[in-house]
């Protein structure tokens, strides 16, 4: 789980240019400047690249916090 979080933090850094350490499980769109509808698309494509997963429409809809993102990706990797 920490491993996934580290990669998610990296994807946040690439998408929004923020300090990876500032990204925690509780981080949500209100905490990250640029995490709007367009930013979400950057984030999704960065996550797909960093973790080698394919995220579909329903996955993307569920990703409301970093915790959700890690959960969705964990499920993908386990499947």
């Amino acid at each position: 789980m920490q491993d996934i979080l580290a990669k998610v933090q990296g994807a946040f850094h690439d998408a929004f240019g923020i300090d990876p350490q500032s990204v925690s499980f509780e981080t949500g769109p209100d905490d990250v400047p640029g995490w709007d509808s367009a930013g979400h698309l950057f984030l999704v494509s960065n996550l797909e690249q960093a973790l080698g997963v394919n995220l579909d429409v329903d996955d993307v809809m569920e990703m409301e916090t970093v915790r959700d993102i890690v959960r969705v990706i964990q499920a993908k990797l386990a499947a």
Binding site: F16, P33, G34, S37, A38, H40, V57, M61
Partner: protein
Amino acid sequence: MNESETPPSTNFAGRLVRRLGKLSYLIDAATGEAIVPSDLGRLISSFGANLLSAGLKPGDPIVIGCVLSPASSIAYLGAMYAGLVPVPVEESKLPLAGNVLLNRVAAKALWTEKLCTFDWKCPEGFDFIFGHPSEMPAGTIPPAPRQEDDLAALVATSGSSDVPRFVMVSHGNLIANTEAIIRSQHLENDERAMLILPVSYCFGASVLHTHLYSGGGVVFDRRFMFPDKVLHAVNRYECTTFAGVPTVYNILLRRSNIRSIALPGLRRFLQAGGPLAPQHVQEMRSIVPAARFYVMYGQTEATSRISCLDPENLHQKLGSVGQKLDNLTVQILDAEEQAVPAGQTGEIVVRGPSVSLGYLNEPEATRRAFKDGWLHTGDLGRLDEDGYIWIEGRKGAFLKVRGVRVNFAEVEARVAAVPGVYECSAAAVAHPEAGEALVLYIVPDKTADRVAERVRRSLPVHWTCDSIRIVSELPKTSSGKVSREALAREGNRAS
């Protein structure tokens, strides 16, 4: 307020308040907060009264920190109602560039919904006002008397830089454009718009204005990163209008479940802010056939909208931005600024009561864009025999990424500052989600490595970059300038 005795005000917000109807709700979809119609007019008026009792005067600019919410819309309209000049700015822009913005517009005050702290210092004698209008002392005032030519708002052009250019919009501009838009969209008195575009953007503001002015209401939703939530909110709040820029429709088509979420109450889609591919317009039509699809064209310099494609003729005129609004005159000018006949391409110029007063503190730019009452849009296009406008390109050197203007010069300056870059030129290519995206041609320093990677990391998130091409030199014109035409040819060949 006694409505029967006073003559119709030329204060736009005053006029709007008089026309609010029994469906004029403002709703925040994320929280469910609703301002009910019986409170809305009173809150607009009392917010204005509060500004005056804080010592502000009619004509004073006040920056309104906007989020997609009822409160910031009330603050914006309330300031205008009291005769002040609201400057709507996205609240998220304030931490970085707020002080520069305040100085640029010579603001006397700043309002935000919540108490914000900024790193920069407020100018001397400056009021920082915060709080939800409903939590401020009550007490209403009549709308401040304003003439048609009086400044109503300062509206940022949809530029990408942190400190934008401001357009001076008058009360008369707003009244004329709002009424013409209402006619062109056939708005009834029972409309409700879903607004996901900020009110600081002229298209977003026009949706707020037209729906309240015709007696309807507006639902705000800042959750478009989860598009299905917004689609469900359209149904939950029985919205009749949905407004978006091309990126919004591209996201709906590719990243939402719009094909399985029926939208039975929706009457119309509004689309502006750059070209949406005709096949995407048709796709939207086939997915939601009951909603009429309005393609529109506009500019902040013309208050908001300039033309509208009547949905009855959408199929026949697909690719056009429609006919001019009924109170405007549109002409196409050649390089000698002579009007050309139908079918010929030139610069689109516009005249009429919604052509704005010009740019704030930029007499030279104003003189170039506003000549003898004609707004020179910088857009290239033609009129067909039926008077439909077909946009073919832009005179100015900018591209539109996700509906936002990005200046090539600004991009090039930013990229040229990256260590290892010797020379750079930017071009635009069509992009499935962003509408247009950047292609960067970079001549690296001889010794530099990983330049492309460093450049990519230096770009702001909102500058979608399609590709970075490392080249040994840039094509130049005879005068030594980089030839954009040659670059565009090269880009098309390569892609």
